[in-house]
Symmetry: C2
Subunit: 316 residues, 2 copies
């Protein structure tokens, strides 16, 4: 059950706003067993739930005291303290220290998008790439992760890689962070819904007039059914993503760019305009390889796989 | 002359469009001796000049075969090949390999702004900072350097840290790179001159009407003499710098930000608006220290000091 003898194993946990997902993961990133529970609202209950998931996975695998990696939706500092989470009532919660004390194992806690980036880099879309990758996870918001020199870049306080708040259009659309023109404000599921609602308000003709709520998902569905307004909105928002990718590639020079998250369901309707806008803006292309844009391959498992692999790869 | 016994020494060379400056530098970043020549136009003559500077410094110091670090104005790849330089006719020039072969020592070649960032981080404005720093060198253009986890971030092809081409205002002012709204297009000496010329064309009253060429230097001089239009232009361009700093800090989370380059001569007329615009846009400030903005301290020596220290600090 727990892989062939000699495999290094770890438990990866992805703590999201809806579910806590955990898996027994080997050092190739293969998931050997998994567990899931709804995320408790209460911080203490959340800790208990995480410990319970670890106990169940360990017991079934008949292994003890495996290293644990956690990807948490929120701002995680270098000590594994969740300083703040937009969706969970975690404030300065010492998640790493509490899990380590309760389990008596090495525990690593990182931002969930950073963990997902590591998962895709080591075991997913960029598993054949050496050295570096930049990942954007685009769902309701935009998460990011940066790997350079085979190391996860965490920044001074652990906020490194928050590319959702790259400012690409100063003075533009308002972002929940308070700034204007952030990548998240222009190229997220929320942005898709907002742009479509604005186009409808401008009198555009569209099947979206009949939906209850103009979300990114509704727009994607309409676009796939050939709705011209929805197609145009996806292309426009995709173009903003391309601007963000170009800004990041031109200034940081990652080896590859990986796009993940719910927006992948829009497929090439979104990613082709993004890639085109990006390619139109890559500089110094005659002096280097242009970082390719890859689609994430691990889906919802990227975070827990990456968290487990980070727990195994201490140098990173 | 060559420092007290036991000091590690290296020779740092800064190859700019106008001069090649070299220094005998110890591991604290102190310059013990220096040499300088006008930069030859010809690539072979430039190599000969660099070897000559090394020979003279080594002879006077009575030391042999010191490691050599070079900061070069241009795109330098991970093998120390200058792929391209905007101001020098270097194309795919294997500067590191040629110097290493001629001198039979370890040689490191980096982009000049990256070398300057390392110099300020280890021996200048951020010498008391651990872990990371982001530096912007603002002259005619904008150079950048990023240090994270005590390592210089070089990117996949050596272009990491080119923050002059961060896009902060998509569709905005045209940049020499071909894109619009790059930091360099909005917050450089060139941008200051261009904005002042535009303000004059709009009929603005200013002593700048009497100067031959409305350069960043001329605007700075006028601003210091109290010229209202010049002061306003510096504030406006400084504000764009603040937007760029905010975008970088919010997404990369460096420990400190260092501003260097010719624009420092404008002092607080430029840096105060920049800092104000930056502070207005820092997110998550309640959950971390806000990276302070420091003025570079090493002036024109930052590049050669940083290059020498990089030659001594191979891990970075």
């Amino acid at each position: 059950m727990a892989g062939t003898a000699g495999d290094a194993l770890a438990i990866g946990i992805d703590v999201g706003g809806t579910n806590i997902r955990a898996g027994l993961v080997d050092d190739d990133g293969s998931i050997h067993d998994r567990e899931q529970v709804a995320t408790p609202d209460d911080a203490e209950a959340r800790m208990t739930a995480m410990l319970d998931l670890v106990a169940r996975l360990s017991e079934r695998a008949d292994v003890d005291r495996l290293p644990v990696g956690v990807g948490a939706a929120g701002l995680v500092d270098l000590d594994g303290v969740v300083r703040y989470s937009p969706n969970l009532d975690w404030r300065d919660a010492p998640v790493r220290a509490e899990l380590a004390a309760a389990l008596d194992v090495d525990v690593r806690v990182e931002n969930d998008a950073a963990a997902a980036a590591w998962g895709e880099y080591r075991a997913g879309a960029a598993r054949d790439v050496d050295g570096g990758a930049l990942m954007l996870t685009i769902g309701t918001g935009v998460g990011g992760g940066l790997i350079m020199d085979d190391r996860l870049i965490r920044g001074n306080a652990g906020i490194g890689g928050e590319f959702g708040h790259l400012i690409i259009s100063e003075g533009g659309a308002r972002c929940p962070c308070g700034n204007r023109g952030c990548l998240e404000a222009l190229a997220s599921g929320t942005a898709i819904g907002r742009r479509a609602a604005a186009a409808l308000a401008d009198g555009g003709d569209s099947a979206l007039r009949d939906v209850d709520e103009v979300t990114g998902t509704a727009v994607t569905r309409a676009a796939r059914d050939g709705d011209a307004l929805a197609v145009e909105v996806l292309a426009e928002v995709g173009c903003w993503l391309g601007v963000g990718i170009a800004s990041l590639v031109n200034s940081l020079d990652p080896g590859v760019v990986i796009i993940g998250g719910g927006v992948l369901s829009a497929g090439s309707l979104f990613l082709d305009p993004a890639t085109e806008a990006y390619h139109a803006r890559v500089i110094a292309r005659e002096h280097r390889d242009v970082a390719p844009v890859l689609r994430a391959e691990l889906g919802d498992d990227a975070g827990l796989i990456g968290a487990a692999l980070l727990a195994l790869a201490r140098h990173a």
